[in-house]
């Protein structure tokens, strides 16, 4: 076995079950060529040159298997292929295609290695590369972890180049010249005499030859699309004209409309239902049980909603605490409890000795459960035919859905077709599939008919698998104007094992890295430095929420660091820069200093600025936020952001993603929480879960730096620094240190 294999088996985190189960033969199996899913249903005259490009006489189809939930995956994947294929992607069909093993995500697990992302030594890099093996082995076709660009950067360009060279080879054989004498341009092979042959005209011949795989990727200096300013998103026109077709917009002849009410104690079975009031309502066709709840099938969504509301239901209660108070008490109990110890991935110096004597600075923090609440509620269209199940839905996990639907319907996975549709947001919500399971269960009761299941907003928010609530304790020490000791403990229910278990039915042994991701792995050099994760019992079932572990740990780590720096009497920005041991991270800190004209945390009476920093998904991101204390509350005036994602492929979309990340981080930090009573959240619609509105949106200035090594994604890294930067700014403006989210429990906002 390779060295990396041995290392991997001793490690833990998200990929470890995969490795523990499969590493002995995994490398061999994963090296076998992956079946090309496009070959399954190719018609005569069609050529599927790689799993990402399909060409027939009608045109060129680009397969973009990472799902678009608003982050721009659809466009960037098409541009990556088109860059090497020499086509205008606006002229191609672009589709996510059928789920397939070939579309495994090689990068999504690489964040799970026990090396901080700023460390790029041999072992760390080998192990990151190695994580692509379980990803391939287990066919994890997944969108998430800001991985679309790092995963697709080489692979999709190679697909384009392979297709281009194979088409050239086909042309070379047809006209009897060397492939090297041909060139390509705008969807055609150009012969030495200037004659052009359209790719579509070469498809049938290209299908007969082995793909040309000895290709060289073009250098960035030769790019036509990538890295260029004003690269238009290929879905923009549709999204501005109401013509994009989301899952919820699917329409079929004679389609049925359904909704469900399931136990708000998510995953808990058992209910007493009185359907008498709902049964006679107009348009209601069937009322029947689904897992953990009841489904209503009607001839119109609103009628289904009305009938579902008329159901009288008594839910069974699970055995974990039913109130936020009880949940936080459980989290506090696990914090520091040796029996709940989960992992300690950072332990430098001798923290115990350092904190034994003298003045120890202590602080306790907590963050609430958070809903994903994308604008488009969960929905799926399902039709069950004799030996086949068809599913239309927006999802980040099409293969898990295929396999689960097969199990429910009692068919082979190959008999399930999953059509992945554009998504009206996700933020991690669509890494779950309860709504699809329910839709399949209901569709089985109406074979042959298309059935669209739509969750009401209330159902969506109360059946989300939220961002975990957690609590943290910091202890530290300062001396001579410097931060000398930093000890952080975090307590949270295990997120990754719960999620992976729900999806795969397999258990994920070992510690759960998400408890401390975003705090243990920060690029600072503090003499005595320790971060410990404690695993609280499972309570409300939880899942990934935009930026995952870093969404809470970014707040904990950077808030406590800010407190220590203040206690030391140092400048918040200068001390972070002094402590920072990673060049690209230091540069983003210096950049926000320059952008904001930083001259200390105080701007004027009642005005202050705070700095926030978090490195997540390998991307260092620093933010400076300026706030003003007004009579109506805190106003957020201005945000300066610097990020380093390595090579920037789409500057326009990078800025949009950072805007979005900052606003997402700030909005939830200001006013969002799921508060539980009787095992259900009190907040079930946007009036109680506002986030940021347009009038609150600050000016945001973004600078992208390129001092990093590997290319990275930017969908998530803008989120984690926003909350601590805001809390630190409020401290600078008011002297009030807020250690709990949402901040509006302690201070008003304009």
């Amino acid at each position: 076995m390779s060295r990396a294999g041995k290392i991997a088996r001793r490690t833990f985190l998200i990929g470890s079950a995969a490795i523990a189960g499969g590493v002995a033969f995994g490398v061999y199996m994963a090296k076998k060529p992956i079946p090309n899913p496009l070959l399954d249903d190719l018609k005569d005259g069609e050529a599927a040159i790689t799993p990402f490009v399909k060409i027939d006489a009608e045109g060129i189809t680009l397969i973009t298997p990472r799902a678009d939930k608003g982050q721009g995956a659809y466009s960037i994947q098409a541009y990556l292929i088109a860059e090497e294929l020499d086509i205008d992607p606006a002229t191609a069909m672009i589709t996510p295609g059928m789920p397939g093993q070939a579309y495994y995500n090689a990068s999504v697990l690489s964040e799970g290695v026990p090396f901080p992302a700023y460390q790029d030594g041999f072992v760390a890099e080998t192990l990151r590369d190695f994580m692509s093996v379980p990803a391939k082995l287990f066919s994890i076709q997944m969108t998430g972890g800001s991985s679309t660009v790092p995963d697709g950067f080489d692979r999709m360009r190679l697909a384009g180049a392979t297709a281009r060279e194979t088409l050239k080879e086909a042309a070379a054989r047809r006209v009897g010249v060397a492939r090297g004498d041909l060139r390509t341009e705008n969807g055609a092979v150009i012969l030495p005499d200037g004659t052009s042959i359209a790719y579509t005209d070469l498809a049938a011949e290209a299908a007969e030859i082995d793909p040309v795989t000895d290709v060289t990727l073009r250098p960035a200096s030769a790019w036509r699309y990538l890295g260029k300013p004003d690269l238009p998103r290929l879905d923009m026109l549709r999204k501005c004209t109401g013509t994009e077709v989301y899952g919820i917009d699917m329409e079929f002849q004679d389609m049925l409309h359904a909704t469900v009410r399931a136990n708000p104690a998510v995953g808990t079975a058992g209910a007493r239902v009185d359907a008498s009031a709902a049964e006679g309502m107009r348009g209601v066709e069937k009322i029947l049980p689904v897992s953990n709840g009841v489904g209503v099938i009607a001839n119109n969504t609103w009628r289904a909603f009305q009938a579902a509301e008329a159901l009288e239901i008594e839910w069974s209660a699970p055995d974990y605490p039913g109130t936020s108070e009880g949940i936080f008490a459980t989290l506090e109990q696990a914090l520091g409890d040796p029996d709940s110890y989960d992992h300690r991935q950072r332990n430098e110096g001798d923290v115990d000795a350092a904190l034994e004597a003298g003045e120890v600075i202590e602080a306790r923090y907590r963050i609430p459960y958070l809903a994903h609440a994308p604008m488009e509620p969960m929905n799926a269209v399902v039709r069950v035919l004799d030996a086949q199940v068809e599913i239309w839905t927006g999802t980040q996990i099409p293969l898990f859905i295929r396999d689960r639907a097969a199990t429910i319907a009692g068919v082979e996975p190959e008999a399930v077709k999953v059509y992945v549709l554009p998504m009206g947001g996700s933020f991690g919500h669509r890494l779950e599939m309860t709504h699809v399971e329910q839709a399949v269960e209901l569709a089985l009761a109406v074979p042959g008919r298309h059935l669209k299941l739509t969750w009401s907003r209330e159902e969506d928010m109360s059946h989300d698998y939220p961002r975990p609530a957690s609590v943290a304790a910091g202890r530290g020490k300062v001396a001579d104007g410097k931060v000398m000791a930093f000890d952080l403990s975090v307590s949270q229910s295990a997120m990754a094992p719960e999620w992976f278990g729900r999806l795969s039915g397999m258990s994920l042994p070992g510690p759960d890295a998400t408890i401390t991701t975003g705090s243990w792995d920060q690029p600072f050099d503090i003499p005595d430095y320790r971060v410990t994760g404690y695993r609280a019992p499972s309570m409300v079932p939880v899942s990934s929420w935009r930026s995952v572990g870093a969404s809470g740990n970014g707040f904990y780590h950077d808030s406590f660091l800010d407190e220590l720096i203040h206690a030391a009497g140092a400048d918040p920005l200068a001390e972070r820069i002094r402590l920072c041991l990673h060049e690209p991270a230091r540069k983003v800190l210096e950049a926000v200093g320059e952008m904001s004209g930083w001259d200390g945390p105080s701007i004027a009476e009642g005005r202050g600025r705070g700095v926030g920093f978090c490195m997540s998904f390998g991307v260092p991101c620093a933010q400076v936020i300026e706030v003003t204390q007004t009579d109506e509350g805190i106003r957020i005036d201005q945000v300066y952001v610097a990020v380093d994602v390595g090579e920037v492929l789409d500057p326009t979309n990078l800025e949009a993603q950072v805007f979005g990340g900052v606003i997402f981080g700030l909005g939830h930090a200001m006013n969002c929480a799921l508060t539980y009573e009787n095992h259900a959240p009190l907040e079930t619609n946007y009036h109680a879960y506002e986030g940021m509105r347009l009038y609150q949106a600050p000016q945001i200035e973004v600078r992208a730096l390129s001092n990093g090594s590997r290319i990275r994604g930017v969908g998530e890294p803008g989120v984690p620094p926003a909350a601590p930067a805001l809390a630190n700014a409020i401290f600078a403006a008011t002297g009030q240190r807020i250690r709990e989210l949402p901040l509006n429990k302690h201070i008003d906002f304009v």
């Binding site: 939930k69 608003g70 721009g72 238009p232 998103r233 879905d235 923009m236 026109l237 549709r238 999204k239 501005c240 004209t241 109401g242 013509t243 077709v245 989301y246 919820i248 917009d249 329409e251 409309h257 107009r282 119109n300 969504t301 609103w302 009628r303 909603f305 609440a373 994308p374 604008m375 488009e376 509620p377 554009p422 998504m423 009206g424 947001g425 933020f427 739509t454 907003r457 326009t652 979309n653 949009a656 993603q657 805007f659 979005g660 990340g661 900052v662 606003i663 997402f664 619609n685 946007y686 009036h687 506002e690 986030g691 940021m692 509105r693 347009l694 009038y695 949106a697 000016q699 945001i700």
Partner: protein, 152 residues
């Protein structure tokens, strides 16, 4: 019951309390207006009734008085309304789900107030929620559309 949508008259057989949104989406297959909250808290369902921006999820179809315009009737991919053109130029949309409502609200704003200030934009547009955080570009696009419309 009869209603006029984007200049076309339709006859539907529905209960009068059914919200306009669901008549449009499920009875007439006009899918531009979106369901987001069902309680007029997000604005994704915004349409025009006789030029005024209305939350169609809260308007019982029986109470409808006047012609309805949805995003499909505002402009088309081939013939964009100035607000839509500004949205494309500023690359506003991310997931795009709220943008039909944002655009309809912005178009109604500019109809009444051709040169809105930032404060006026804030006041009118804050009922339209965007979870992706496209607000900075929405502001910029509205100013841009206002300028284009004033030049036209």
């Amino acid at each position: 019951m009869k209603l006029t949508v984007n200049g076309t008259e339709h006859e539907v057989d529905v209960e009068p309390e059914m919200p306009l949104l669901w008549v449009l989406r499920d009875e007439l297959n006009i899918k531009g207006p979106k369901y987001g909250c069902g309680i007029a808290q997000c604005g994704a369902c915004t349409v025009h009734v006789d030029g005024m921006a209305v939350r169609s999820c809260q308007l019982p179809v029986g109470d409808l008085e006047g012609g309805v315009t949805t995003i499909e009737g505002l402009g088309t991919p081939e013939r964009l309304h100035a607000v839509q053109a500004a949205w494309v130029a500023h690359q506003v949309a991310q997931c795009g789900y709220c943008q039909s409502g944002q655009i309809m609200q912005a178009a109604a704003l500019l109809d009444l107030n051709p040169e809105p200030s930032d404060a006026e934009i804030d006041a009118v547009m804050s009922g339209n929620l965007c979870r992706c955080g496209t607000y900075p570009r929405i502001r910029a696009a509205i100013h841009d559309a206002a300028q284009k419309l004033s030049e036209a």
